[in-house]
Amino acid sequence: MSHSTDVTPGHAPTARGYITGFVLALVLTLIPFGFVAFGSLSQGATLIVIAVTAVLQLGVHLRWFLHLDMSTEQRWNTISILFSLLIMVVMVGGTMWLFYSLYVRHMMVGH
């Protein structure tokens, strides 16, 4: 390692940061579970609440638990997760497109 002699301490995580992340994540967990348990919204609206709180909570975990940002220490982790996201969109989107096309063709042949 090139850094073996030049000892640069990393950014030290704080208890305050983890507690902030935990409280936000807790709220974003209680909201969807609450709506599913008490069924106060329509099914479609509840699914939207689940999706939105899930995406927000992923952001909370990435920011406060995995410490992702554009600082020198974290930059390449952040870039590589964005790249993975791109690969994911291609693979998941492409497969769904393929399945859907297959499904439509099946229906046309079968009926």
């Binding site: 390692m1 850094h3 000892v7 640069t8 301490p9 990393g10 030290a12 995580p13 704080t14 208890a15 940061g17 983890y18 507690i19 992340g21 935990f22 994540a25 807790l26 967990t29 969807p32 579970f33 599913v36 348990a37 069924g39 099914q43 509840t46 699914l47 689940i50 999706a51 709180t53 899930a54 909570q57 992923l58 975990h61 990435l62 638990f65 995995l66 410490h67 020198t72 220490e73 974290q74 930059r75 390449w76 982790n77 590589s80 997760i81 790249f83 993975s84 690969i87 994911m88 693979m91 998941v92 497969t95 769904m96 399945f99």
Partner: protein
């Protein structure tokens, strides 16, 4: 005291995210992201294929999933506390927080395994339908990761006990931290894609 400060600096340097080994481990986690995204895709595609067997609403139990979710979320916080104490060089506290994290992870896994055993006992095994194959495949893969996370925690506690908070130990703890938080991240997707929509179907029916 100056040697202590130097030790602390070398511990913090080893735990950096941009060391070669820690970035390499992050790349492994990114490959895991792709694996899980494909397992989620398979689950979504097969989630209505019951083959006359039990439906998602029949087999999912909201209370148990909520307890599992709370245990895993709390374990993310306790692992965070272990990392905070690592950066302060507080060896005994690191061990205590790792212990608490292990107990929460073991509770999660134990609860999941008893759910699996119950389903298989009821005839809702992974061979019953496409839905159940995809369910066991996805949730089981996550559970397997948690299992290896628990093994890793035990190994790290033993290493801390034997060698203390050395830079190599700190470097490994930084990777275990990424792994553990990553598992909680995947679990958010699991309860949002599998359990909550599944239970919701039963509420609407």
């Amino acid at each position: 005291m100056s040697s202590n400060a130097h030790d602390l600096n070398s511990i913090r340097a080893a735990a950096r995210a941009d060391t070669e080994v820690n970035f390499g481990f992050w790349i492994y986690l990114m490959s895991d992201v792709i694996i899980f995204s494909m397992l989620f895709l398979v689950y979504v595609d097969l989630s209505q294929r019951y083959a006359g067997g039990p439906t998602a609403a029949d087999v999912f139990e909201l209370r148990g999933v909520f307890l599992e979710t709370m245990a895993l979320l709390l374990s993310s916080l306790t692992f965070g506390m272990a990392m905070v104490n690592l950066h302060q060089g507080q060896k005994e506290r690191v061990v205590i927080w790792l212990g608490v994290t292990f107990v929460l992870g073991a509770f999660f896994l134990g609860h999941e395994l008893s759910e699996f055993a119950h389903l298989i006992h009821e005839g809702a095994s992974f061979t019953r339908s496409g839905f159940l194959s995809a369910f066991f495949g996805l949730v089981g893969t996550h559970g397997a990761h948690v299992f290896f996370g628990l093994v890793w925690i035990v190994v790290m506690v033993v290493q801390i006990k034997l060698r203390g908070l050395t830079p190599p130990v700190a470097s490994r703890l930084a990777r275990l931290s990424l792994f553990w938080h990553f598992l909680d991240l995947v679990w958010i997707c699991v309860f949002s894609t599998v359990y909550l929509p599944g239970v919701l179907q039963g509420v609407a029916a």
